[in-house]
Symmetry: C2
Amino acid sequence: MSKININEKFSLFTKEWTPKIIAESNGQLVKIAKGSGELVWHHHENEDELFIVFKGVLTLQLRDKNIVLNAGEMYVVPKGVEHCPLAEPDTHFMMIEPANTAHTGILESEVTISADKQEWI
Amino acid sequence: MSKININEKFSLFTKEWTPKIIAESNGQLVKIAKGSGELVWHHHENEDELFIVFKGVLTLQLRDKNIVLNAGEMYVVPKGVEHCPLAEPDTHFMMIEPANTAHTGILESEVTISADKQEWI
């Protein structure tokens, strides 16, 4: 593999809430996504989900609190914990999670991108 | 857990080539480290090692090429691949790897920090 320039990868797509895979390591995928507004409430039964924000503000709404992430900040949503991402316009973030993690958990909504449709860039 | 500000975590230590753990996710640890100069040649038999550079320049010397990572760039050293990190002064980087990954592989050198001595910050 070649080295990966993270900002260059962000420049390759515009569609929001559509995770793109940029690397694999130990069975986990490194994905980047853009967002604005709210996704949907969901949880992942067996997978922790690591978020790192590169631009903008990503609020991880949990049932009991909000985690407000600015650029350079990160958080791990533990498995089983319901969350609903809420992003300011043009927010860029990274997620690291096992390869089999479903985009919006067991919830299938119109915004769901199934794991087999998430593409490498 | 609370959110993690990555630069704030870097401000908490100065010792080089001494990974500090800042998060755990799916059995993998997120570590940050500072470096300058060369570590040692080593490999990890069973673990891929993900590097993301936040400041400075980290060169991952491999036996057949050099991967030169600037801030905002990343690379995955696959399991079994020999590597020797070489950093410009005051380089800051993140590593993500399974919790049981040995710092310098099977090599025990004077710079080795055993996994049970790597501390959380």
